[in-house]
């Protein structure tokens, strides 16, 4: 039963990620990526990683992709229009390299997988996946945890400062200029970063 579910979700995942890179319209790509993330979250649930699976939906599908959609709509990006020999050559090279990487991976997998030794400390048996992850996070991985909080702080400040642009440079002139940002105080435009923790 579970392998069948896994195969179904894996099929959805592969098809939607292919459509992400193949579709012309950026909004459609973003929506297919949301679908890919949700099916990946379902696979995580099948692997008994409930906390990670739902955090995947909350963070990736619910925050990061919303930010992507905001930027796509704010910049009013249309469909990709590409033509010419250079483009074809570059594309062919890209697909070739991807296929080479995949062949390499298949070769390595074909040799058989032998998972290595388990981590030194066994996690105490408490109820629920979340409690176990939490115990681990706050004991052995406390220092990286505090570091990620600083990373997020830096990212927040950085994103606001960068997206503000220079005070004297107004919006870019020309026909393709982005629409005026929605009314509201300056730093809270649509490019405001999400605190994803």
């Amino acid at each position: 039963m579970i392998p069948i579910l896994f195969l179904a979700f894996a099929a959805v995942l592969v098809v939607s990620s292919l459509l992400v890179i193949l579709h012309r319209s950026p909004v459609a790509s973003a929506l297919f990526l949301v679908l890919a993330f949700c099916s990946l979250a379902a696979i995580y649930l099948l692997l008994h990683a409930e906390f990670i699976g739902l955090v995947q939906v909350v963070v990736y599908a619910g925050a990061i992709m919303v930010l992507f959609l905001f930027v796509i709509m704010y910049l009013n990006i249309g469909r990709d229009v590409e033509s010419g020999v250079t483009i074809l050559l570059r594309r062919a090279l890209g697909w070739l390299l991807g296929a080479a990487l995949l062949a390499e991976g298949a070769l390595l997998l074909g040799r058989g997988v032998a998972p290595g030794p388990v981590a030194p400390e066994a996690v105490p048996a408490v109820a629920g996946n979340t409690q176990q992850v939490g115990l681990l996070l706050y004991s052995r991985y406390l220092f990286p945890f505090e570091l990620t909080s600083i990373i997020l702080l830096v990212a927040m400040i950085g994103a606001v400062m960068i997206a503000r642009g220079r005070r004297d440079a107004g919006p870019a002139p020309g026909a393709g200029s982005p629409p005026a940002p929605p009314a509201g105080p300056e730093p809270n435009g649509p490019g405001t970063p999400e605190d994803a923790s």
């Binding site: 890179i21 990736y60 390299l97």
Partner: protein
């Protein structure tokens, strides 16, 4: 129990799709999305090993990867927005002022 080789094959496939996306597309946002695909492929590998080795360290790593990916997306999109304001384009091959 899902065989480890299936999970790793899926992860490798996803990673390669991401690589192709970065190499083939011109739109900076699609390139960014392909990078997110690659990060997720790595996450899948972490979680599958966590399941098969019976250790939760893999899931904690995924937690950190997600956090860092979120931070990276925020800053990266801010840069793209700023770039668009200056150059009026998001296509990476048109941002070539420094080309010799």
């Amino acid at each position: 129990m899902i065989p480890l080789s299936w999970l790793l094959a899926l992860s490798a496939l996803l990673f390669c799709i991401g690589v192709v996306g970065v190499l083939v597309r011109r739109n900076a946002l699609i390139i960014f999305m392909s990078i997110e695909l690659m990060l997720n492929a790595a996450n899948l590998a972490f979680v599958s090993f966590a399941r098969h080795l019976g250790s939760l360290d893999g899931q904690v790593f995924v937690f950190f990867v997600m956090t860092v990916a979120a931070a990276e997306v925020a800053v990266g999109l801010a840069i793209i927005v700023n770039l668009f304001r200056l150059r009026e384009t998001v296509f990476v091959d048109e941002i070539n002022l420094l080309k010799g």
